[in-house]
């Protein structure tokens, strides 16, 4: 980033003064509420799988898959972005939001074709998540391995 001149700095101060602030308290409350509710739904699904004879640990995978399906489906129906407008991080952070970040660009870029449109744009947000998730897991695994020796 370039360094600001004195004039630009003065202007920045004016902008900071005039710029409307997001409604912090309301946003945090909504994020907490919706994020919490999504996790409660996840808990319900998990309990269902446990009642079907899965162990708690085994139930994680089918629960994630089901939640991903719900997030993807609600995105397709055009509902998820309406939830997101109110909930902010409350619907972005749960794994349903990860599904939303995959389906929304994939749908939108259908007209650019099924290879360079749908299939490549799917990973606009999800790609970085996978890259950083897997790389950090790799590094931690490597450290763990070295300490075990």
């Amino acid at each position: 980033m370039q360094k600001l001149t004195k004039e630009q700095q003065d202007y920045q101060n004016l902008v900071n003064l005039k710029k409307p602030k997001p409604p912090y308290i309301k946003n945090i409350f909504m994020a907490f509420l919706v994020g919490g509710l999504i996790c409660v739904i996840g808990q319900g699904i998990m309990n269902f799988f446990v009642s079907r004879g899965f162990s708690i640990k085994e139930a994680g995978a089918p629960t994630s898959a089901t939640m991903v399906f719900l997030g993807a489906f609600l995105t397709g129906l055009g509902i998820y972005d309406k939830i997101g407008k109110k909930a902010g991080a409350g619907s972005i952070i749960p794994i349903t939001g990860f599904a939303n970040s995959i389906v929304s660009p994939a749908m939108e870029f259908k007209r650019e074709g099924y290879v360079f449109g749908v299939a490549s744009k799917m990973f606009v947000v999800a790609g970085p998540v996978l890259v950083y998730g897997m790389t950090s897991a790799f590094i931690i695994g490597l450290i763990y391995y070295l300490f075990k020796l």
Partner: protein, 117 residues
């Protein structure tokens, strides 16, 4: 009780994400990347598993839980298979979530179109 704890822990994680988005210039994509990495690091330090014990789905459904799943898989596989486990563990444990995301994502985008605004 599971439900109450899931609500509180899950809600709190999302609220932290909201604070980050509102108070800094981080985009939703940055926050997601940050959270998955954070989950992995906390998991590596042995701090995330206790959170899962308390919050159950409240700790596994947010994307920090995805980072945790990856790391847990890697560590289990290192124990089982040694060095190769570093490469195989993460994706093995997260396979269901990732496959579901890719396949359902693809199917949904074939079935639906974005709504005009």
């Amino acid at each position: 009780m599971d439900y109450v704890m899931a609500f509180i822990v899950g809600g709190a994680i999302c609220a932290i994400g909201q604070v980050l988005m509102d108070a800094t210039k981080l985009s939703p994509a940055h926050v997601l990347v940050l959270f998955v990495t954070l989950g992995a690091v906390l998991s590596g330090l042995g701090l995330y598993e206790p959170l899962v014990e308390i919050g159950k789905a409240g700790a596994t459904i947010p994307l920090t839980g995805f980072g945790h799943t990856l790391v847990r898989g890697v560590i289990e596989d290192v124990d089982k298979r040694g060095f190769l486990g570093i490469f195989t563990g993460g994706l093995t444990s997260a396979a269901a979530g990732i496959t579901a995301a890719v396949v359902f994502g693809y199917l949904m985008s074939l079935l639906f179109n974005p709504k005009s605004k």
